[in-house]
Symmetry: C2
Subunit: 215 residues, 2 copies
């Protein structure tokens, strides 16, 4: 198909499609004449993936390019690619090393050890967890740590369901793409569900009228 048709099918403008090609997020079309290219269903599928990860997942173009490189490299063994792809989805929080941050890292590592999770010390999600825990302490809410076990148990159940779903994809390409999609979009799904569950829990606890609660 021509680029105009690709644009119409996906709702992504022609200039944006050209930008993604220049940035390496989308393979160039097959040249059918010196100034005309042809696109197929693989472009359409990749373009939808790019949009979903940017729009819903909030990924930067640079982060997305790294993740797509991991998806597209057929040489690497599956478990390595899964690790790398999701590794790159977790931005290093960039916080400076300070005593509170270091203490939070210890807490984070203890939590992981208590669960028996096999996670390397360099995993960026450990940093992300430590950053969130340090922030909670800094705003005077270290008591939030009480609910960490409930969080960890829920995360374990969700992760098990995610993996079972990812493993359902038969082809290697599907496997890695599913892991990326599930990691990014699954996070958005869970965040929305948690907020909806909050509304319900708050209505029940604070005893509103049924009518008022429906907001």
């Amino acid at each position: 198909m021509r680029i105009g048709e690709l644009s119409r099918r996906t709702g992504v403008s022609v200039p944006t499609i050209k930008y993604y090609v220049r940035e390496g997020l989308l393979p160039a079309g097959r040249l059918t004449s010196p100034n005309q290219a042809s696109y197929d269903e693989t472009h359409e599928r990749r373009l939808r993936l790019v949009r979903a990860l940017i729009d819903v997942g909030g990924l930067s173009v640079a982060a997305l390019r790294e993740v797509l490189d991991a998806i597209d490299d057929p040489q690497r063994p599956v478990h390595k690619v899964l690790g790398e792809a999701t590794h790159r989805l977790t931005a290093s929080s960039g916080g400076e090393a300070d005593p509170e941050r270091e203490a939070a890292r210890v807490t984070a590592k203890e939590l992981v050890a208590d669960r028996g999770w096999r996670v390397g010390d360099e995993n960026p999600a450990l940093d992300a967890l430590a950053g969130a825990l340090a922030a909670l302490r800094q705003v005077g809410h270290a008591d939030f740590f009480e609910v960490l076990d409930t969080y960890a148990e829920a995360a374990e159940r969700v992760a098990a369901a995610d993996l079972a779903w990812v493993a359902g994809g038969a082809r290697r390409e599907d496997l890695v793409e599913s892991a990326v999609v599930g990691t990014v979009l699954g996070e958005a799904v869970f965040a929305a569900l948690r907020r909806l569950a909050h509304v319900d829990a708050s209505a029940r606890r604070y005893g509103e009228e049924e009518g008022e609660a429906r907001e």
Copy 2:
């Protein structure tokens, strides 16, 4: 304390503190002379809250100002303020109404109804959920919907723990602030834990050597 001391204690630069005051995120200090202001512990606490919500929670200055307004208004009943504060934390996804989006909204509402959650049709988290579900369908991963029940059940457990924690805060100001902190930072905590649980689940399923798994 002087603004320099406030800066030293919190690690936030003086120009940034002045910017937050201009933007209405931090109350002005008490003037002790025509060009000198004094700050106290309430400023320090608020400044830490502002930084945590911006740095870890990723809130925009505009969204944060609305949330802080809800925290600071002593007139509104608690359940209203809780709802409003968390309402404003959920950005409307701004996606256009299209048939896929509408279908995803129906799925989202059915899921909420199945759980028996009392949530109004206008809640922005419903839109956020519909947006994520529509994106999953568009990238060819509607089969992810299989794991939604597991997600919803985990979200319910986490939300119940969150509410119990929030209710532990005695004063009204604490209650609302806790709800905001718990919503925003709790999300970062859960996302990090889910990714750590993924690493472990992936290592177990794909049978790496223990050494390799530790990355």
